[in-house]
Structures are given as C-alpha cells and as structure tokens.
C-alpha cells in the first residue's frame, strides 16, 4: 500500500511569480484554457455551413445543451443571449472536472506538492464563477426590466408608503413584503455560497475519494470510481449551468405586480 496523499482544502502553492502565488489548481485551469484556445482556433478556422468532423462534434454538444437551456428559458433568443456566460461556465467546469481524472493529476509532484489538481477543488475559482453567475443575473435584470423595477424586487419600500392610506391590513402586507425583499437579498448571498460550495465540495470529495482508493488499491478498483467521477463532473457542470440560467431567467422576468383594489 502506497502512502495516502489527501489533498488539503486550500490549493497548494507551487511557485511564485514576483509576489503572486501560482497554485496547482491554476495550472489545471491554464491547461483547460490552452485546450479551449487550440480547439477554438481550429473551430473558428474550420467553421463552415457544411460542417466537418470537429465542427459536427462541437455542434452536437452545443445543440444538446441549448435544448436543455431552452427548456428553462422557453425561448431560443433568450438562451442565445445568456449563452456567453452559461455556455462558458458549463464547458469550463466540465473540462476542468474531467481533466482532474487524467493520469498524473494528484500523482505528479513538484517539491512534495501535487503538480496538477482539478481546478474546481479551489474555492476561489468556484466562488469567482458563482459571483459572475449571480452578478451577471442582476446586470441582465437591470437591463431587461429596468433599474428600479429590478431593485424593487428586493427593496419594496414604495408599497409601504402607498399602503398607509389604505389601512392597517394593507400596511401589514406591505411590511411583510418589505421583509420578504430583505430575505431575497440574503437569498442572493446564499446563491453565491451554495453554488460555490456545492461545486467545490463535490469535486474535492471526488478527488479525495480517488486519492484514497488509488492509494489503497492501485489497479482496477479505482476505475468504477473514476467513471463515477466522470458522471459527477458532468452533473456538477450541468447543475451549475442550469442554476445560472435559472437565475438569469428569473432576474430578466417582470416582477409580479400586487393587485391594487
């Protein structure tokens, strides 16, 4: 039985460039960036109306996720509007997760540190993506429904002034709505935390599991777990992307008007 290397929660700093720490998760993210760059150059050069093998494969994946996104937005135009953010999130998370299953991840070391580690086992990255997801939903919300209409979903102070003349029940309802608005603000923070921690937790747990199993039994036994991790990587990318598009769709929909009597 080999020595078990259980990864730490924070990413390992491999070296420094100036005063900047370079971590093993960053290396993994950069590999993903390079892969996307090379793939992107080939796709952009070979994009034709009559697709080749590469374009066909990429279009297959794209059409598949567009179908799922359409089910959420209910409109292809809206889906294409959100695609730059949601598509990037989905494909980046998917490739990063799957890159973590390549041989060498967790086993190649540099100065007793793992050289490669799945990018999404870094909470900084998952938090950055979660913030991009939630903040972009608000930016789209401001653009789609108007600044004050979107802000009114969270700070419902206007109804309090309106309800003063209508009587105590209306005032009570308005106060409750104001409270709900405040809870909505908290839920926005919760969205960021849940999105980032869910992805981080799942991928980190998978990495720990693979590390432990691989250390216990080196051959054959880790294979089913790696297949499971392939599935987990796909599911987590899907969950993150679908939740993002749900947030975007909700934020860009008109707020419910309270029926006035």
């Amino acid at each position: 039985m080999t020595e078990i290397h259980i990864p730490n929660l924070p990413p390992d700093v491999l070296f420094q460039i100036g005063s900047f720490d370079i971590t093993n998760t960053m290396i993994n993210a950069w590999i993903a960036i390079v892969i996307f760059l090379v793939l992107g150059i080939f796709v952009k050069r070979s994009a034709k109306l009559r697709p080749g093998k590469l374009q066909n494969t990429c279009e297959f994946f794209l059409e598949t996720i567009l179908g799922y996104f359409d089910q959420v937005t209910g409109d292809r135009k809206k889906t294409l509007q959100f695609l730059p953010i949601v598509g990037s999130i989905f494909f980046f998370i998917l490739l990063s997760n799957w890159l973590g299953l390549l041989p060498g991840t967790g086993s190649i070391t540099l100065r007793h540190q793992m050289l490669l580690r799945p990018a999404n086992t870094d909470l900084n990255l998952t938090l950055a993506m979660a913030l991009v997801s939630v903040i972009s939903s608000h930016i789209f919300g401001f653009i789609a429904v108007g600044f004050f209409s979107h802000l009114g979903k969270f700070i419902q102070i206007k109804n309090i002034f309106k309800s003063i003349k209508k009587g105590p029940i209306a005032l009570f309802v308005a106060l409750i709505e104001f409270g709900v608005g405040l809870i909505e603000i908290i839920s926005e923070i919760a969205k960021v935390i849940s999105l980032s921690l869910r992805l981080f937790g799942n991928i980190f747990a998978g990495e720990v599991l693979i590390s432990v199993i691989s250390a216990l039994v080196g051959v054959f036994i880790p294979t089913p777990f790696m297949v499971l991790e392939l599935l987990v990587g796909l599911i987590q990318a899907g969950v993150f992307a679908i939740l993002t598009i749900v947030y975007l769709t909700i934020a860009t929909s008109q707020p419910h008007r309270v029926e006035e009597h």
């Binding site: 796709v43 695609l83 494909f91």
Partner: protein, 179 residues
Amino acid sequence: MSNTDLNLGEATQDTSLAASLGLNTQLFLFQLLNFVLVAIIIWFLILKPLTKKLEERKKIIDESIDNAKKVETNLAMSQQKFDETIARAKHEANQIAQKAHDEAEQIGLEIKDRTKNEVAHLIDSAKKAIALEKEEMRLELRKETVDLVVLLTEKILGEKLDAKKNDHFIKEMLKNIKN
C-alpha cells in the same frame, strides 16, 4: 474578557475559516481572471462561430423549405392551369367538331337539294326534247303520209299531175284530213 477582545477573537476565527478553505483575495482575483479569459476564449472562438453557423444553416433550411412550399404551390397552380387549359381545349375541340358536323350536314343538305333541282331540270329538259322530237316525228309522218297518198293517187289515177294540180290536190287532201 472585554467586548473588544471578544470581537477580535471572532474576526480572527472568520479569517482563519476563510484561510482554511483556501480563500485568498489574490488567488480569487487570479481565478476570476482565469475564468474571464476562458469565457472570452470559449465565446469568441467556439460558441459564437458555431451559433452563427447554426443560425445561418437554420435560415438556409427555413428559406429552402419556404421555397419548396412556393414551388409546390406554383406546381399545383400550373397543374390547375394546365387542367383548365386542357378542359377548355377539349371543350373548344368539341365545339369545333360539332360545328364542322353541322356545317357538313348543312352542305350535304344543300348539295342534295341542288342535285334534286338539277335532276328535275334535266328531266324537264328531256321531256321537252322528247315532246319536240315527237312533234317533229308527227310532222314527218304527216308529210310522208301525204307523199304516199299522192303517189298512190297518181298510181290509181294513172296520170301525172303537174305542179299546179298537185298543189291543189294536196291542199284539198289536207283540208279533208283536217276535217
């Protein structure tokens, strides 16, 4: 322990929790930059060209379907026009055939009438010619008879009549015959 010490303790605990999870401002900004970079690459080099081509293809397919529908409609209209033209031509052909038949019938009747008239005229002419010939024959016969009577009378009388006597005798005879 004072309140200040307690607050300081909580703040240190929060920082240590974030640090234990690996949260770090510098790393966060780096990873944010990485994500922005990857998003730009994915969108501009992969998703945008692919969606553009998909839309172009969809547009071409939609246009082709519309064109096919138009061609189908035109074909149906052409077929309808063709059928109408054929029906009209048939109707006109029938009318022409009927007219030709009627005209032929009319011409036949006219020819029949004209032939009847001509036949009647020929019969009439023949009748007249026969009547004329009959009259001539009658006159010839009378003359022959007279000559024969004169010759017979001469034979009976035994003498030859001179021209003057002869004429007188003939006139007498003719008078008697007429009476």
